[in-house]
Amino acid sequence: MPSDDRKNSQDATPIVGAATDIAPLGGPKPAHERTADEEAGLVDWEKLAASDRFRDLLKAKRRFIVPAMIFFIVYYFALPVLIGYARPFMETRVFGPVNIAYLFALSQFFMAWVIAALYVRAAARFDKMAAGVVSQSEDAAPR
């Protein structure tokens, strides 16, 4: 334990640092003080990329994102295609003067919001999986 040779007794800086305190000079920096560049050198990217946890994360993301992209692209481009090539059907009235064309265009907004909401829910799971991958790297990295 270093001796307290500070002249100013008003200085409230604790002598022994907890993990959250300012890092002592010279020693390794605590994780929260490392810059992005310093962190890069500490990680074995190849090993992480090949790890089961990371591959599971990629698989889970792909399982959501690829079908979601395909669905929204098909649903969206159906609008101009149907307007262009199936106009009588699109002009069928549903509620009073309101026709399929208007309702289908309006439904695009709700489609986008629903997919966004589903993605946010799925992404909470991806975040947990990503945290698992990161903790794995921190276990391996020198402190």
């Binding site: 810059t35 992005a36 962190e39 890069a40 990680v43 990217w45 190849e46 992480l48 990329a49 090949a50 990371f54 994360l57 990629l58 993301k61 994102i65 979601a68 992209m69 929204f72 692209i73 969206y76 481009f77 609008l79 101009p80 295609v81 307007i83 262009g84 090539y85 106009r87 699109m90 002009e91 009073g96 003067p97 309101v98 026709n99 064309a101 208007y102 265009a105 309006l106 695009q108 907004f109 489609m111 986008a112 919001w113 997919i115 966004a116 909401a117 993605y119 946010v120 992404a123 975040d127 990503a130 991958v133 990161v134 790297s137």
Partner: protein, 535 residues
């Protein structure tokens, strides 16, 4: 002083106070380029909406619906749907793996100098074309809104240009963000208020409203006609390849929004990828609500003001302000006019900061000086000078073109370049291990050249005008168009991907392949991502 001028000046005053506050708070590169990455999720979401919804959206789409009914509404759908690509594919990986620009992600595993040079060229092309379109529109609109007896076109362009330079040069990203937030809130408030007034006009009955929309009366070439505005076909007809042009526009929106540099830089202003995601969702709620409400604005203007009246009072861009005037008088007109002005300023400020960030970070530091700042703070200084130059050039070009110039195609061009050049290389760099420098350079070049070339031979530039069309409104090339569509996306996007893929297959780059693991882990987990900094 008219009420409109008063509200314009009030908005200018508020934004200048914000710029002063932001200038005192912001020190250093992270503050200038990213507001220290401390913008919260909702703030950034609102700012993205403010950055994205241009005067073309607010006044233009309301006008399209007022003039062409359903076809205008259909046109507006893609602007929201496009955000699914931003949400699902681009926002989070970009935040995780980049620092200031989209080129950061490309430069990770590719040879930085050629890739950054091309990416900066593409970014500057998108931003300046988009900005010139906004500036010409701004000049024409401000003179209309304030009355040309008070403000000339040139004064309006210079005023807008000087304000955007001040926001960016002094206030950096923090001031730009808050100008965008205030604008988005004003825009939403004005749109909701206007929609409610339209509903009130129809006795709070949607049935009455839609009934009125089915028979809109106006003069078409001197003949009085009555049209059902809920039926498609008033603008996009088989004769002008309407369906194909809409599909082509849809492709440019769906793939281009996720490649717009001024939208992408916004995701660097938040602390982490999760916040970036939250902000996209906020933006989607705002943008979607706004475009749904354009139904009331556009159809309301068509039924309450009438197409004939709008045509003689400034044209379709004036639909929303004229509707406000018809429903609630001059003060409300002034309020809506001030919102239109705020809208223009927020968008041009966003474009200016993304252009200057890209030039300073990607071109000046990385390409000319091989990635090292010679003096601390040099990058920010260069960015400030660039913002000044870009602003001055935009003012000059907008004045040279004049207010009657046909500039709508510049927006189509910006989206086409973003979709055909930027998006393919971002996606391939993130998801294809084999992708390499040759592929990125060739992909960016093909996307850029294809979009430009197709626009030049499209009816936007190449068309035989009937006699009587004179001056700036004339098409540049008097020849029947070679490419029939106004939107080149349907051809230029596949060409961009093709260029990127063929370029990649031409050569092998072991270093790019070996660094794929690192980029993939970073992009998907946020490990080693740039962190928020303190003031």
């Amino acid at each position: 002083m008219t009420p409109a001028l008063g509200m314009f000046l009030l908005f200018v005053l508020i934004t200048l106070v914000i710029t002063y506050w932001a200038a005192r708070k912001s020190q250093g590169a992270a503050a200038f380029f990213t507001a220290n990455r401390r913008i919260t999720g909702w703030q950034n979401g609102v700012a993205v909406a403010g950055d994205y919804m241009s005067a073309a959206s607010f006044l233009g789409i309301a006008g399209l619906i007022a003039f062409f009914g359903y076809d205008g509404f259909m046109f507006s759908v893609g602007w929201l749907v496009a955000y699914l690509t931003v949400l699902l594919v681009v926002a989070e990986p970009l935040r995780n793996a980049g620092k200031y620009t989209m080129a950061d992600v490309l430069a990770y595993r590719l040879n930085p100098r050629p890739v950054r040079a091309m990416a900066a060229l593409s970014t500057l092309t998108v931003s300046t074309f988009y900005m010139i379109a906004q500036m010409v529109g701004a000049g024409a609109l401000v003179t209309l809104l304030l009355g040309s007896s008070h403000v000339s076109y040139e004064m309006a362009v210079i005023g807008v240009g000087i304000l955007m330079i001040i926001y960016v040069v002094f206030g950096g990203m923090l001031a730009t963000t808050w100008v965008q937030i205030i604008k988005a809130i004003l825009l939403m408030a004005g749109t909701i208020l206007l929609s409610l007034l339209v509903l009130k006009h129809f006795g709070w009955s949607l049935a009455n409203f839609f009934e009125a929309v089915t028979h809109v009366t106006y003069h078409d070439k001197g003949v009085l006609v009555t049209k059902n505005f809920l039926e498609p076909g008033l603008r996009y007809t088989p004769a002008n390849h309407g369906a194909l042009d809409l599909i082509s526009l849809g492709m440019a929106l769906v793939f281009g929004t996720a490649g717009l540099p001024h939208i992408l830089v916004r995701f660097y202003t938040v602390p982490d990828a999760k916040t970036a995601r939250v902000s996209v969702v906020w933006a989607m709620v705002l943008i979607g609500t706004f475009y749904i409400m354009t139904t009331f604005l556009g159809f309301g203007a068509a039924t309450i003001v009438g197409r004939d009246q709008i045509a003689v009072s400034g044209g379709n861009n004036m639909s929303a302000p004229l509707l406000a005037q018809a429903l609630a008088g001059d003060i409300f007109f002034a309020f809506i006019a001030a919102i239109a002005f705020a809208t223009i300023l927020a968008v041009v400020a966003g474009l200016t900061i993304s252009a200057s960030t890209s030039f300073a970070h990607d071109f000046y530091t990385a390409v000319i000086h091989r990635g090292t700042e010679r003096r601390p703070g040099e990058e920010v200084r260069v960015a400030r000078i660039t913002a000044f130059v870009v602003g001055a050039v935009a003012i000059g070009v907008a004045i040279l073109l004049g207010k009657d110039a046909n500039v709508a195609f510049l927006v189509a061009l910006a989206f086409a370049v973003a979709a055909s050049a930027n998006l393919p290389v971002i996606v391939l760099s993130l998801f294809w291990k084999r992708f390499n420098t040759t592929g990125a350079v060739l992909g960016l070049a093909t996307g850029l050249v294809a979009s430009l070339a197709l626009i030049i031979i499209s009816p936007s530039i190449m068309k035989v005008d009937p006699p009587g069309v004179v001056g700036a409104a004339r098409h540049l090339i008097q020849h029947p168009p070679i490419f029939p569509l106004e939107n080149p996306g349907i051809l230029s996007i596949p060409l961009g991907f093709l260029g990127a893929i063929l370029g990649t297959l031409l050569s092998r780059e072991p270093r790019a392949e070996s660094r794929f693991a690192e980029l993939s882990v970073r992009a998907n987990t946020g490990l080693g991502a740039e962190k928020a900094t303190t003031d």
